[in-house]
Symmetry: C2
Subunit: 398 residues, 2 copies
Amino acid sequence: MEYRFSSSVSQLKSSAVRDILKLTQGKDMISFAGGLPAEELFPVQAVREAADRVFEAGSGALQYGLTEGYLPLREQICERMAVKGMHVTPDEMILTTGSQQAIDLLVQVLTEPGDAILVERPTYLASLQVFAMRGLKVIAAESDEFGIIPESAEELIRTHQPKLLYSVPTFGNPTGRVWSLERRKQMLELCEKNGMLIIEDDPYGDIQFNKDEQFPSLFSLGGKAENGHVLYTSTFSKTVAPALRTGWAIGDSRVIRMIAKAKQAADLHSSTMDQQVLSQLLQKFDLDAHIALISKEYGERMAEMESLLKKAALPELSWITPKGGMFLWVELPDGLDAEALLRCAVQKGVAFVPGSSFYADNVKRNTMRLNYTHNKGARTEHGVARLVEAIGEFTVRS
Amino acid sequence: MEYRFSSSVSQLKSSAVRDILKLTQGKDMISFAGGLPAEELFPVQAVREAADRVFEAGSGALQYGLTEGYLPLREQICERMAVKGMHVTPDEMILTTGSQQAIDLLVQVLTEPGDAILVERPTYLASLQVFAMRGLKVIAAESDEFGIIPESAEELIRTHQPKLLYSVPTFGNPTGRVWSLERRKQMLELCEKNGMLIIEDDPYGDIQFNKDEQFPSLFSLGGKAENGHVLYTSTFSKTVAPALRTGWAIGDSRVIRMIAKAKQAADLHSSTMDQQVLSQLLQKFDLDAHIALISKEYGERMAEMESLLKKAALPELSWITPKGGMFLWVELPDGLDAEALLRCAVQKGVAFVPGSSFYADNVKRNTMRLNYTHNKGARTEHGVARLVEAIGEFTVRS
């Protein structure tokens, strides 16, 4: 039997991260590849108690739910959003299977195949997969330590007239960088002027190491949901736990209604068990204290990895110290191919994601993404030692 | 702000069932509309104990999982499938957010916009929404009490050369009918001869009132997954509980791998919390005994509703007694428009789904779908009485 697959899925590259994760099944492998939160920090007991309260409420908890998601949880998320200057009603929000689904549905609802979408270079791998699946033309603006460069974006907008900007402005994946306030305002203005909508993907915004600085969301700077240009997505995957697969999108209620229509076809609704557990959790558990705790811990793990890399004193290795999020984005010596390096590193028992995965075009091959949240102490030490050894050898070899 | 939505989502009709469910929020409304299982039969205590065992296993349970789904659960479902003559390995299976997502992903992977897809007339509403979202041309073959009519299908295949057949051969939604063995074999042969793949959607197959008869799945008749023509989907939504949103697709491992690629973009993976709970549940809970219990109960509820309708002795009302599933499909007097009837019925405090929602073309307006699983006893009695009153009045009026 010859199966003929759709052109969109056929051309889709399998995720490098996924393929690497398969390589890292061996027990002695230390992986800086996946964007995994630290399991030992998951609030298991609190989630368990929350689940108990859901079951106590009776069998209705196991029935079909609304496509838009469990209303009490939407109300609770609205309250949490308001604290960050994002004032929305439950009608302006839909719950999704992680924020990944929110991105996919937004793209389904707001674009036609062949439309152009503007992104930052580099950008989140699995969003590039969404754009490929939907047949979009990805155009990538340059970025620097302050975020996407508006002049680069403007030129591309003029040439390609993209419908949408997809952005991860706060502690982005893969770079961990944060857009400056000025850049945020410039990009908002630029998109408004050109009638472009913005998807602001914010899974990492809560994971900030030092709270002195403020990074207001594009959504909060843009005003309100109604008639707004910004569609904001976030998730509990990084702050509570990924297995509960609960994310959300907020925006004008007309957009949310369209997403609900698309979601009906996609899966009717996401797990209401998970949504009810999260709702119960938020009632008794101090999530903000928990976020403070994991942010502190992740900040320490980042510092640990950074100091190990500094100590190694490899020539021509550079990075920008992240102020939050889960990733360290490292530039390797010119001409060093991180994909080739990975094969060598895996033999030594350490994995990372080659930067090439995060580029839609103009791939910068001498880059890599290191996750620092999933390991610590001796494992991070050994992992970095193996990595440094691989880079050393590889530099000599190449 | 003028939002421009994609043509696929713009043209999508909002689900009639959904709109009706909104109408039925009032407390005195008796709804035969939604395809809701009986809440009071959900195995809440067993699910709760299963969840407890998941939490006892520790924090790893809350981490990211595989796109293909939790492996132990896939292995358990393989065992359950084998009992039904469907022999597959975990590599030939992917877990999805309900079987709705399995249908959506199969369509994404196996079709291009503009392709034709063959269905039975009438067919499952939310699958029609998937086909509309993906830009497919739906062609509908006639059906009778033995299922889809091969001669009608053959003619359409010759004219339109569809890539796929979408079918619900066992206790279908909305008709509750089951394809005869002969029709099953004819359709398998017809599709094989024409190089067409078959999506066999089987959410209701387990809910059989009398086990004397056997209705082997198209998948089991077709042989094995490898190189097979049949892609089979099912779900725990009807046998355990919908809130856990766990369905699956089985088929050739190449198809499954493509689905996994599409699913990565769609949502990375479904709730692994739910999947782990179901896996724990299957270890201790006698699901087959539970299925026997709900099948018996649903059979009684169907008989109850049927006898009430018979007693009413309305002229020109007809239906085929279902042998399983959740729906009674009723033909009303010629010329009676069930959508108009619904507005009248809702005023009397009873709701159903007008049959028109289940047609891609050649709509038969004098049909309605009644769910009999969610109500019983006095509520069913009152509901049917109200419905009979509405039909009586309406027949006089029209």
